[in-house]
Amino acid sequence: MCGIVGLFLKDKALEPQLGSLLTDMLITMTDRGPDSAGIAIYGAPQAGHAKLTIQSDNAAQDFDGLAERLSSELGAPVTLTRKDTHAVLDFPADKATETRAALESIAPGVRVMSAGESLEIYKEVGLPKDVAARFDISAMHGTHGIGHTRMATESAVTTMGAHPFNTGADQCLVHNGSLSNHNSLRRKLLREGVRIETQNDTEVAAAYLTWKMREGATLGEALESSLVDLDGFFTFVVGTEDGFGVVRDPIACKPAVMAETDQYVAFGSEYRALVNLPGIEQARVWEPEPATVYFWKH
């Protein structure tokens, strides 16, 4: 049960403001989700570079010298930029698999929030305004982003239980609603070798999309099949390297408002989240249809 915000910029002039616009939208959704908050920001990828957003509850200790150790293990340059409990590791794109393996053996306590070339995910327990401030989200530039405020239903209020969930390289998912068959699906996905770390229903949905895509589906196809395989109530917003998508369950009880202008496409669980966007008075505002997959791409 939650609040979702999303912003996809068409106008490059707004890119320096992506973080501040999203932060304002996120904080407006505090009532819907006071337990934890998270934000996924897509920035311009640097050719030949890939990155991991990592998190540790003992950041000072775990991040100290981590870049150097990874660098020597991989024989390639690795940089680490720390933000509070999170850090972004930058490394050559052709070393993505090795970097992740090396990280797991060198720093097993460090958790990966996101992987890709343009995506960074920051999420923690606490009020949205505090979470956004910890990571200085409002200073971030980017092309598009998704934010989430969580009111936990059944699973624990933890960093790993916060949204967004990273589904595949440069892909992430947030959810508002409550699934009703995620326990069986979790068992099935675990048997398929998909990694699932929490009891959270949304993580199962994210893992489901990851698995479908691993089996050859496109993200669009995976979302289409989620309408059949996931039971319960959901509004999903997914982020990809070049855009974002929205899908609601066939009953579509959980709210969703979209707004589009020449400058952006925006998503909010409530219209309130959109009121400070530039030119909102002139925007086309509508609600996505149930059981329909929408995508906006650059």
């Binding site: 579509a252 408002v257 409530e270 219209y271 309130r272 505002v285 509508w286 609600e287 249809e289």
Partner: protein, 225 residues
Amino acid sequence: MQTFDLAAEGLRSLNATLQAQANETNQTGWDIINPRGSHAIAVGLDAPIEVHVMGSTGYYCAGMNKQATVHVHGSAGPGVAENMMSGTVVVEGDASQYAGATGNGGTLIIKGNASSRCGISMKGIDIIVHGNIGHMSAFMAQSGNLVVCGDAGDALGDSLYEARLFVRGSVKSLGADCIEKEMRPEHLELLAELLERGGCDAKPEEFKRYGSARQLYNFKPDNAY
């Protein structure tokens, strides 16, 4: 005309002020500025006043309205005019889910489109939509009239009781126990009045009427679920 700045003075003050207006109030005109999608704007009113909300609203604008006219100069969030008893609510833009839910009376006019579950469990309200309505509209609708100048989404009038539904455009699908019914002269007359009240530029003859087949009214082996 009184102007009330919601952003500056707050929701509690707004509703307390509007609810305190008596039948014989002289302050009959109110402009609410800076609504900014706020919830529960102008709820529980009970006086013949005219409230203009100068922008879009959040959930439950004009909830449980009696007597008052509430005019939203923007779009309305979920549950606009829910459980309205009397009076008039006009939405210049679109209305989100559950518009006019469980309304007992009065008139709700939506000049744009209404989303899903428009008129769910309506109990006597008249709802007039200039545009389209979403899925599951008029679910378990008990009485009153729903007029749609555009198209209706899936499962229109599912488990309908005695509400009358008039749709000019297409109906994506009818819900359980909802059927098309003959448009008789008394329905055309009723519809003409509703269209005039709603300020719709449409002719009654262009509409089809839908209502309950009344096959679910009593438990039977074939319809138990």
